[in-house]
Each structure stands twice: as structure tokens, then as C-alpha cells.
């Protein structure tokens, strides 16, 4: 059924359709409407699952990971400070190989206080062992949550579906909401190990030796490699079932392009319009959208970008003291590619500032005319934006 809904609402629809058995959550802007929508459905007897209204995000993640170890399907949503508060539990959830799914609505990290889109919150959780998927629009948000459960439950690694504050969370778009029957056939009942069986008593997550710890890390890294396969399979099967698929990355006109723009999330939608126009004007500009950040699809990116002489990465996030995080990751991923491209990093949209078509055009022009690549990121903002 086609509905005109916000991204938060789309995520909630997916959580309900996936027959999530435990939702543990705590309010935080701009995630709260997900929590409220699920509560409405619970009150109306339409949710099916159980809701736990914890006293913090930290406890919400504690509850999700514990229930997942017991073998049920769990979900939470958070943003910014709430995600940072969860940090310890994020490591724990992946370390004990749970299948928790979370929606992170990207929001600026304080200080200073702000409520706008900025990816630094989720990207700061890079090393926690979570799968991370960045969505471009409301439809992709809904679809990615459904895919996330399949992936997390098969690989036994938790999965974070990331949407942006306001641009996705609160903007309304037409969204195809699949029927329960079709979601049920795509996502069967959960079947992950149950760690607390009376017939088979074991001590889950005990203290281990140095060598054992190292071995578990290696197993988790292997699981991340396996996740790459599973994400691809699940995405293809999703495409066969629902007619939409996304890939690790999406490329537009990269063939023979003299410059490839690399974007993530909602900036991609604006970039599509700009690229289309510039291409009509005869410029050979391509576009690559990165959707999956962890595991980082190095091989796919190498293949996609190997022939690009110039690459410009736009980041709505910053690792202070370095540059945009997608830019760093991409550079590291391409370092062993046969034809090493020149990669220039741009920072745009930080703090949720607007990334308009003209802003993207400025980036393209700068990148095309630039003789020397600089190692520092180039800040691009609207005139008088501050």
C-alpha cells in the first residue's frame, strides 16, 4: 500500500511488519516519533510485540542485547547523545554476537546543542562491530530495516539502519508499505541460538584469556566478511520480492567520467539532480552513493572507482583533526587499487546546514578545476550561512 509518511513512520511500519518481539527505547529528538508510533500501535493492540520503556538508552540496548541472546527479535531507535550513551553496550551487543536491529536518526553531537542532521554520531560508533547502512530516503529506510533483520539474524551481528534528522525522519514522502504476507514470506520467524536453555545450561560471555579474546575478534571480523555476502544476497532477494534493491553502493554514469562525486544519504538525492543537468551540458560527471559503511565494501568501491581519474567526496560529518570520515575510509580502501585516483574531500552540510544544488555545483567546479589535491578537507557552505 502506498502511504504518504515521514521516515520515522516508515521505520516504525517496518518494525511492526517484521513482527519485532521486543522494542526497548527511550525518547530523544528526532527519533522519538518512532517510539511514539510503536506505542500507539501497542496501545491499539496492533503491535504484536512487547515494549519496554527503559530509563535510558543504555538500558534500552542492554535489554535488546539480552533478549536477543535469549533468542527473540529486538529493536531500538536512538540519536546523537543517546547513541553515545549506548556506546559501551554497542560493543557488548556485537561482542556477544546478537542480532539486535537499531535505527539511528543522525543528529549533531553536543556541544554545542543542536538538533540537525550530522552523521558524526553514528560514524563515531564505527569500531563497535555493528553493521551500518545509510539510507537516502524514506522508502530506503523502510526497506533497509526489513533487510537488516534478515542480515543480522543470519550473520549474528547487530545492524544499525541510519537515517538523517529532519531530511528523512520528519519529511513526508510517498512510501510503498508492503503487505504483512509478503514481509512474512521474506523474513521468516526468528531462528537464532537461544543461550539460556535449561536443557543445555552454559555460561554465556565468561572471562577469557588473551588468546581466546584474539580468536573471538578474528571470528567477528570473519563474520563481517560474511556479512558482505549476506547483505548482497538479501538485497537481491529483496529486489526479486519487492522490486527494489540498493547494493553496497549505487553508481550513476561513472563509465568514462572525468570526475566522480561520492555521496551518502540524502545529499545523494540532490547530487542526482545536479549530475543529471551537468551531464546534459556535456560534463562527464559520475556519482557514487555509498550505502553500506560497515562492513566497508572495499572491493566494490575499488571496482567502481578504479578508472576514475578524480574523485570528490562530500561528507556531512567530521573526524576532528582529520577530515570527513567517508573520505578517509574511501582513501584507505583505494590505496591498493591499480590506478590510484586523486581523492579530494569536501565538508558540506555539517550541523544540518543545507546542501543545495548550487553548493554541489560549486564542489564539482572546484574539483574539476583543481590542479592539486589537498590533504585537508575543503569546507563548502552557503554564503552568509553563519
Amino acid at each position: 500500500m502506498r502511504k504518504f509518511i515521514t521516515g520515522n513512520h516508515a521505520v516504525a511500519e517496518a518494525v511492526r511488519l517484521c513482527r519485532t518481539q521486543l522494542v526497548a527505547a527511550y525518547p530523544i529528538t528526532p527519533q522519538t516519533p518512532i517510539y511514539e508510533k510503536l506505542s500507539d500501535w501497542e496501545a491499539a493492540g496492533e503491535l504484536g510485540g512487547h515494549m519496554m520503556r527503559t530509563e535510558s538508552e543504555h538500558s534500552a540496548m542492554a535489554a535488546c542485547l539480552s533478549a536477543s541472546l535469549a533468542g527473540i527479535r529486538t529493536f531500538t531507535a536512538t540519536s546523537s547523545q543517546g547513541l553515545a550513551l549506548m556506546h559501551e553496550m554497542l560493543h557488548f551487543a556485537s561482542g556477544c554476537r546478537t542480532a539486535v536491529v537499531m535505527c539511528c536518526v543522525n543528529r549533531t553531537m553536543a556541544a554545542p546543542w543542536a538538533f540537525w542532521s550530522d552523521q558524526t554520531d553514528s560514524l563515531s560508533q564505527r569500531d563497535t562491530g555493528w553493521i551500518q547502512i545509510y539510507c537516502e530516503n524514506n522508502q530506503e529506510a523502510l526497506d533497509s530495516v526489513i533487510q537488516a533483520f534478515r542480515v543480522a539474524e543470519q550473520v549474528l551481528l547487530p545492524c544499525m539502519v541510519v537515517i538523517e534528522a529532519n531530511f528523512i525522519s520528519h519529511f513526508m514522502e510517498p512510501v510503498e508499505v508492503p503487505s504483512q504476507r509478503r514481509v512474512d514470506s521474506f523474513l521468516p520467524q526468528i531462528n537464532i541460538p537461544k543461550r539460556f536453555e535449561l536443557e543445555n545450561p552454559g555460561f554465556a560471555v565468561p572471562v577469557v584469556s588473551q588468546a581466546q579474546y584474539q580468536r573471538y575478534r578474528k571470528l567477528s571480523q570473519e563474520a563481517m566478511a560474511y556479512a558482505l555476502e549476506v547483505i548482497e544476497e538479501v538485497d537481491q532477494e529483496f529486489g526479486d520480492t519487492f522490486g527494489r534493491h540498493y547494493g553496497f553502493v549505487e553508481e550513476v554514469g561513472t563509465e568514462g567520467a572525468e570526475l566522480v562525486l561520492v555521496t551518502t544519504a540524502t545529499i545523494t538525492s540532490t547530487a542526482r539532480v545536479v549530475i543529471e543537468r551537468l551531464r546534459q551540458e556535456g560534463h562527464k560527471i559520475g556519482l557514487v552513493k555509498i550505502r553500506v559503511f560497515r562492513p566497508f565494501p572495499v572491493q566494490t568501491l575499488k571496482k567502481t572507482l578504479d578508472s576514475a581519474p578524480k574523485i570528490a567526496v562530500i561528507d556531512r560529518n567530521i573526524s576532528l583533526g582529520r577530515e570527513g570520515i567517508f573520505c578517509s575510509e574511501l582513501k584507505a580502501g583505494l590505496i591498493n587499487a591499480s590506478a590510484r585516483a586523486h581523492v579530494q574531500g569536501y565538508l558540506a552540510g555539517i550541523g544540518g546546514t543545507n546542501v543545495s544544488p548550487s553548493l554541489i555545483e560549486r564542489i564539482v567546479k572546484d574539483a574539476l578545476s583543481r590542479e592539486d589535491i589537498v590533504d585537508e578537507p575543503i569546507w563548502i557552505a552557503e554564503e552568509n550561512s553563519c
Partner: protein, 293 residues
């Protein structure tokens, strides 16, 4: 009947565990689990409790257990209970052991949240009155004047009133217990088992290492804690109805203090202050009870 029950219990603790010799926490865990029975899931969090449970590949207890994180004993147990319910196994109780640090200090917020929601689990605070697992540092459960590694001149604060805090949540059941009174302890575990919602046991667990006593002293000092009214045995139902389970001999507090090296530096005034506080607290407790003591 109770005596017989505890004389022929179902043993869940296997031979061999990682506690110090004579550890009151290990004795307490053994008693609690014998009363609980094998049909249960147990959560432990970082503390001596987790150490006692054994490093991989050893497991001191023959029961499904989970070593969760320090400050989340309550939501961990609550969520496992919820999951078991979803799976149609809601007759399996979930019990969590946490230390005093994990209860009075770092885990208080998550415990309060879970108790406020009246989540369905048994919470057992194994109170050894300091951070013993990290080597004897002061916690908010450490009694006034007691020596610890981070209160070298004696703790300046008094012990936090955790039972009052839990009673204020109006949870269905809260009780104190100690290893010096095994029948009382096991009765309380069994009673807690029959109730649904958040159940809290505050279990005084003497620690020979941290309290600076001989290895055989843990049960004796636990008895002395009760007999001097330092640690009365009582229950609170629904946060309102108080019952004293054992009428003590009201011995002078020195009986208790003199057994422990952590109090050996105390002067007359300090001992007197402890006596006054014990008398006052006992009178207040008696005033709250429904039974005549």
C-alpha cells in the same frame, strides 16, 4: 520443613570456584541457588560474583548463566524474563546477582528503572560493602569509618539506605538476608520465587579479604551483624508492610566491629556513634513493622 529442605537441597554450585577461601559471597550464592532450584536463568555482572562464576571454560554453577555488563543487571534480567515469556516459558524465573557497587552505585539508575516498571525478576545484591573485585575501594555501601583502599582514614559517609530506596519503588517484595541465617535466607528466596514483579534481596556477604578477618569468620560475623542490629533481618511487602523476621539479642556493636580489621582503628567516639546509629535505626525499623517486637 525448611530445615529439611535446606539439608537435602539441589546443589547447583559445582566443586571448585574462583573465590578467596571462606568467601561470604560464594557461600551466599550457593545458598541462594539451592533455594532457587535448577529451573531458572541467572545473570551475573562484574563483581566478585562474576569471578566466582568461573573463567572460560569453567562454570561454577550448573544452570544457564549470563555474565552481563556492570551497570545493567536489572535490565538484563528484565529482558531475559520478557524473552522467556514471549517464548511461552514464563514459569522460569530469572535471578540476577550484583555486587554493592553494581547496585548502590553504578547500577542504581537501571535498577530503579526496572523496579519502577515492576519488571519480573529477582535481584540479589551481594553486599560485601566495598569494591572488592578491584581490590577494596569504598562504595556507597561501605559503612561509616570502615577502612578501604580509597578511604584509608575511614569512610566519612554512612551506608546508603538501599532497602528504603527499593521500598520507595513500591515493589512487591524486598528483604534483607545474610549467610549467618541460612533458613531465613532460603525462605526468602523461595518466597520471592512465588511472587511476580520486581523482587529485591539485600544479602550481607562478609568478605574475609576486604574486611580483614580470618577465613573462617564470614558466617560468624554475619550472625554478629544481625545480633547487634547493624543488619536487621526484615521484609517489606509492596514497599509498605514491614516485618522483622528475627528478634536480635541487641548485643553491643563492638561484638561485630572487633571481629574485623577494617574497623581496628576506631576510637571510642566513633564506636559510640555507630552504636547510637544502630539503636536509632532499629527503633525506626520497629516503628514501621506490623508485628510487635
Amino acid at each position: 520443613m525448611l530445615v529439611q529442605d535446606s539439608a537435602q537441597p539441589e546443589e547447583i554450585m559445582r566443586p571448585g570456584h574462583a573465590a578467596c577461601p571462606g568467601c561470604g559471597v560464594a557461600i551466599g550464592m550457593r545458598m541462594v541457588l539451592r533455594a532457587l532450584g535448577k529451573r531458572a536463568v541467572v545473570v551475573v555482572v562484574p563483581s566478585c560474583v562474576a569471578v566466582i562464576s568461573g573463567p572460560y571454560p569453567h562454570a561454577a554453577f550448573e544452570i544457564p548463566m549470563f555474565h552481563s555488563a556492570f551497570e545493567i543487571a536489572a535490565p538484563t534480567a528484565a529482558a531475559i524474563a520478557c524473552a522467556l515469556k514471549v517464548q511461552g516459558k514464563d514459569d522460569i524465573p530469572v535471578l540476577t546477582f550484583a555486587g554493592d557497587g553494581g547496585t548502590f552505585d553504578i547500577g542504581l539508575q537501571s535498577l530503579s528503572g526496572a523496579a519502577d516498571r515492576n519488571e519480573d525478576f529477582i535481584y540479589v545484591c551481594m553486599d560485601n560493602e566495598a569494591y572488592m573485585n578491584t581490590g577494596i575501594q569504598v562504595s556507597s555501601a561501605t559503612p561509616q569509618y570502615a577502612w578501604t583502599g580509597t578511604s584509608p582514614r575511614g569512610n566519612v559517609r554512612g551506608k546508603k539506605q538501599i532497602m528504603e530506596i527499593m521500598a520507595a519503588h513500591r515493589i512487591p517484595y524486598a528483604a534483607t538476608a545474610c549467610i549467618g541465617f541460612p533458613e531465613d535466607l532460603q525462605m526468602k528466596v523461595k518466597k520471592a520465587r512465588t511472587i511476580r514483579g520486581t523482587r529485591f534481596l539485600h544479602l550481607l556477604s562478609p568478605c574475609p579479604t576486604g574486611w580483614k578477618m580470618e577465613e573462617h569468620m564470614a558466617p560468624k560475623v554475619a550472625v554478629a551483624a544481625v545480633e547487634t542490629n547493624i543488619f536487621p533481618l526484615y521484609e517489606v511487602v509492596d514497599g509498605l508492610h514491614y516485618t522483622i523476621n528475627y528478634v536480635s539479642k541487641s548485643l553491643p556493636v563492638e561484638t561485630y566491629l572487633n571481629m574485623q580489621g577494617r574497623f581496628s582503628h576506631l576510637n571510642r567516639e566513633e564506636i559510640q556513634a555507630i552504636q547510637l546509629e544502630a539503636d536509632r535505626a532499629w527503633a525506626v525499623l520497629k516503628g514501621k513493622t506490623n508485628n510487635k517486637v
